[in-house]
Amino acid sequence: MNQERFEQGVAALHALHDPVRRSLYRYVSAQPHEVSREEAARAVGVQRGLAAFHLDKLVDAGLLEVSAVRRVGKRSGPGAGRPARLYRRTAVQYEVSVPPRTYAMVAELLAEAVEEAGADLTLQAAARRLGVRFGAQARAGTAGRVDEGTVTPAVVPSGVVDVLVRQGYEPYQDGTAVRLGNCPFRDVATGFPAVVCGMNLALLEGLVDGAGAVGISAVMDPRPGRCCVALVAAEPGQVRSQSLSQ
């Protein structure tokens, strides 16, 4: 394990130790837009000054970054023309595992092997089975509540959202659809998109099926920087799952 990266990871995690700071980090990370101090403070329920203190600590730690945008509208008086600090998550990845565990390299090798062997459908079937198990947990409520209120239960059952949050997809509502702001497998997905994104769709199809979530479908909808799958309202008469390979 690379000692320098381990130290950097520990420092980043240490910066998240404070619960308020952690809430602010998670809030900023979950938004598809850049976040001001006011918005973050309101969302987390703290004073603006305290939010600013913590947000800047997160910037120091390399977890968030600032884009300064000139205020529009206020032409004179205090605050006129001063740039507003907007925060967003940085793209840097931090990992700490003790004892050392390296799944990224294994994932790359396995994905390459699946690619070479043409075993996509085998992988998709396995992923679908796993998704169904997650879905059953979601339906039974045994997965445990972690939903941060970013998706209303009328769109997608809260148990399903909990699974999505737990697995790192960062779901958010977009009209009647649920979009996934983060690709949890980004590095290996970039290396083997057909294999990994096909696996991912199958997993999420299984989740929807296993949770008995009528009225939504997992569909492939790639967008830059986001997960390739979205959960959308199913067409009337359409089977729940988009899978056509029975």
Binding site: D120, L121, M220, P222, R223, P224
Partner: protein, 172 residues
């Protein structure tokens, strides 16, 4: 197509890919693939960086045969850059087709996709494309025939250190 003084337009990226059908095009098992051809070709035509694709008057390349085995389909296209080709191939609705490839196509043991740079304005022939694919199969990736995973820059591009079109995985 070439514009004097516009560095970006001096070379285009040519792409050929071949695929071995499991069933004939008119078989029920291949129906979803055939149905998707027109929408995906439309998507390609309107994608950023798209320059040209091989097609017959029917609108696609499925009737073109580059090899003796008439189950082998060939696709040939031109793009402005590696990034725009990558974006169409893996970050568009085309991905939805790609993840189902094993339903319709056998896995080929040899390389099935080759890329190479051509002067802007040059339209590659199928024979030329086959030569490039065979070059890749014989020699592995080189500036004359390469892949998205192991690309080479355009002849007039400044040298770049990264060997991936998109973000590389962690270092050793």
């Amino acid at each position: 197509m070439a514009v004097d003084g516009d560095r970006r337009a001096r070379y285009h990226l040519a792409e050929v890919n071949v695929a071995l059908l499991r069933e004939p095009l008119d078989a029920p098992a291949t129906a979803d693939f055939v149905a998707a051809l027109e929408p995906i070709n439309q998507l390609a035509d309107h994608s950023p960086g798209f320059v040209w694709r091989l097609q017959t008057p029917e609108g696609d390349a499925t009737s073109i045969r580059a090899f003796d085995d008439d189950r082998i389909l060939v696709n040939l296209s031109l793009w402005e850059s590696l990034e725009t080709l990558w974006a169409f191939t893996y970050a568009s609705r085309h991905l939805d087709l790609l993840r189902r490839r094993r339903e319709w196509f056998h896995r080929l043991a040899d390389a099935h996709l080759a890329l190479w740079w051509v002067p802007a304005g040059h339209v590659p022939t199928v024979a030329e494309a086959v030569t490039r694919l065979e070059l890749l199969r014989r020699r592995g990736p080189s500036p004359d025939a390469f892949t998205l995973r192991e690309p080479f820059p355009a002849p007039d591009a400044p040298a770049v250190a990264s060997s991936r079109v998109t973000a590389p995985t962690g270092a050793a």
